[in-house]
């Protein structure tokens, strides 16, 4: 029966027929008022309490999830910080091994250079030869007056001549020595420069080392904060995790795009190898085979990245000894190379088949078969893509690792938020039901208001009589129960 049918029937019923039924109904409802109120209130209370309990349980679950998220976040953050610090130490180690391992040689070289410079300095400090001692004797002789004796004058002239000659000789000697000193100083220049350069290099190396140590200090501070589980560290890790999640998801989407292109490159020529009409389930065998090749390439990429210790998805590979790991690198790289070559040749075949199909379609449509100029360009392009894409897919392992790690945190945050929302919703519904129960009780009273009005009047009269000192003969049981419950 539809609502319109019901309305139609009600329209045919006269009011005179309805009123007695309504009166009986109201009286019956009045009689059942107290238990009905109890039932409604109990139902409301039960549902309210049940929903409140559920909300509490949900909040407890949310707390547990939040705790777990915190644990996961800190443990992954700790691991990541340890890896970064380890890497920084490796870099410092490399700098020390590369630059400071030959420090004794450098020191010896510097000492040699210094000794050479010192020696040269001493050489340059040599004084010019002093004027001969007899010059003073000559001076004394030169003071003798020469006017009286011509022989004396001759002697003095000779002395003068000798002195001049000696002066010239001394000056020449001095110039020679000076030139030699300048030569020595000149020779000192490259030694000085070399020494300066060596010191500069040393300074740069120490600066680099200092820079690394500063980075390590920063990382160590972060590491200590994570270990101390501070709120700041948690906020920073959550934000970093969310950023990682979105970035890695974006890169993975790009990789999926690359895989689809790769798939389209090799699906058609694969049908030439495995047959175009065979199926596995509802999928063409050629498509499945193409997909398998791409997935194998991705798997090889994972192994390669793992063996190179770039990613840490498989602990077993990380735990292998270095010789085994190097073998794995070569094996996975060789398989990748072979697959890339296969893809390249498949791309070549695809171009050939696509060309034939296109020519057939053109001939079927009655148009002239066109030969495209430079038709080798798309062929070479496809072959190159077929060769490069497998190697490009290799790098999917890096964003995938980030995605896997960050997804744990992001999922945890989402679940936690969902639980909190659910708890709120449960509490809200519980309260709504509680107040709906009270509303229903009031509505119930509204429906039976004539009887309540009469009851109220009777009670008022009894009270008045009681106030006048007249005891009521009987006590209304319903009213008593009502008052008791109130």
């Amino acid at each position: 029966m539809t609502i319109s049918d019901l309305m139609l029937r009600l329209e045919n019923v006269s009011l005179a027929h309805v009123i007695p039924f309504l009166c009986i109904g109201v009286v019956l409802l009045y009689l059942a008022r107290t238990p009905a109120h109890h039932a409604i209130k109990s139902l409301g209370r039960v549902m309210h309490n049940a929903l409140r309990l559920m909300a509490r349980s949900t909040l407890l679950a949310e707390k547990k999830v939040t705790m777990r998220n915190r644990e996961v976040l800190f443990s992954s953050g700790l691991e990541s910080a340890e890896r970064i610090i380890e890497r920084e130490f490796q870099r410092v180690d490399a700098v020390i091994k590369r630059d400071l391992s030959n420090f004794p040689v450098l020191q010896r070289s510097m000492a040699d250079q210094l000794a050479r410079v010192e020696e040269d300095y001493h050489k340059s400090a040599e004084l010019p030869p002093p004027s001969p001692v007899w010059i003073r004797a000559i001076e004394a002789v030169a003071k003798i007056p020469s006017d009286s004796d011509s022989s004396v004058a001759n002697i003095l002239a000779e002395i003068h001549k000798t002195t001049e000659h000696q002066f010239k000789h001394t000056m020449e000697e001095f110039r020679k020595v000076s030139a030699e000193r300048h030569g020595v100083l000149n020779r000192m220049m490259p030694a000085w420069r070399k020494l300066n350069q060596t010191l500069d290099n040393m300074g740069k190396k120490f600066n680099r080392l200092q820079e690394r140590s500063r980075i390590i200090d920063t990382r160590m501070t972060e590491y200590e904060e994570i270990r101390a589980r501070t709120d700041k560290a948690e906020r920073s890790l959550t934000s970093s995790s969310l950023t990682q999640f979105f970035i890695s998801a974006f890169v993975l989407l790009i990789a999926v795009g690359g895989a689809i292109i790769n798939f389209n490159l090799i699906a058609l020529p694969m049908s030439e190898m495995v047959g175009g009409g065979s199926y596995i389930g509802n999928f063409k065998t050629a498509n499945v085979a193409a997909l398998v090749i791409i997935l194998v390439e991705v798997a090889m990429g994972f192994y390669l990245m793992e063996s190179l210790r770039i990613t840490h998805l498989f602990p077993i590979i990380g735990q292998m000894d270095d010789r085994m790991r190097h073998r794995m690198i070569w094996i996975s790289f060789t398989i990748l190379l072979v697959l890339a070559l296969i893809e390249s040749s498949l791309a070549f075949m695809r171009d050939h088949i696509a060309g034939e199909i296109q020519a057939l379609r053109q001939s079927l449509s009655g148009s002239e078969v066109e030969t495209t100029a430079n038709s080798w360009i798309p062929m070479v392009g496809q072959m190159t893509m077929g060769f490069i894409l497998p190697f490009a897919l290799t790098f999917v392992a890096i964003p995938l690792e980030s995605f896997v790690h960050s997804t744990r945190t992001v999922l945890g945050v989402i679940v936690s938020m969902a639980l909190r929302g659910l708890a709120f919703l449960l509490r809200l519904v519980g309260n709504i039901i509680h107040y709906l129960g009270e509303l229903t009780v009031n509505l119930y009273d509204c429906i039976i208001f004539p009887t309540l009005y009469v009851e109220n009047k009777i009670r008022m009269r009894r009270r008045e009589k009681a106030a006048d000192g007249v005891e009521p003969a009987t006590v209304d049981v319903g009213v008593a129960v009502e008052e008791e419950t109130r």
Partner: protein
Amino acid sequence: MKRLIGSLLLVGVLLIWGCPDTSSHSRGVFMLLDSSGTYKKELKQSEAIINYLLGTLNPGDYLAVARIDSGSFSEKDIIAKTTFDRRPSMTVRQKRQFRKNIDEFMRTAKSSSFTDIDGGILQAIDYLDEHDAGKKHILIFSDLVQDLPKGHVREKIPFKMPGYNVLALNVIKLNKDNIDPRKYYERIEKLRLRIEDGGGKLTVIKDLDRLDAILTK
């Protein structure tokens, strides 16, 4: 543990490679071309449909084209038939050869005195039943006016064609249909009853663009 992993891997490999889908995904198409006197001039239009079929059928599908003449229940009436190779490059060559055979027929086709549509359908069923195609289509390019030579028995032979999809193409209206359209509808209805009694389904296609949607269903 290692044995367990090994066994699981083996089972997985066997599941993927060892159990290929047994149901056939190939399509079998048998096209009947009416070459009777009144309809022969329409044959040129059938070339477009054959070209369309050659363009859309895939490796592993079956295609045969036969003519409807005085007695069509005969292999001699098959103009060209082929099972497309699993390799796409080979399929392209087969399609070229098929097209050549059809061109040759179009050049040399002679009109027949009678029209044995039921015989052609029986021949098509015979051919398609022989090939294990997943989807079977019979395309009838005719005005559906059957005119049998004396002595040929067709009406009493029921069609056994469960799952067959029969497409009547280019069912032109004749002059007598214009005078009394009931004859046109009776023709179609009669064929429909025969086909549906055999378990098949008849679709009359006036707009050839619908062919694509029906064949790829």
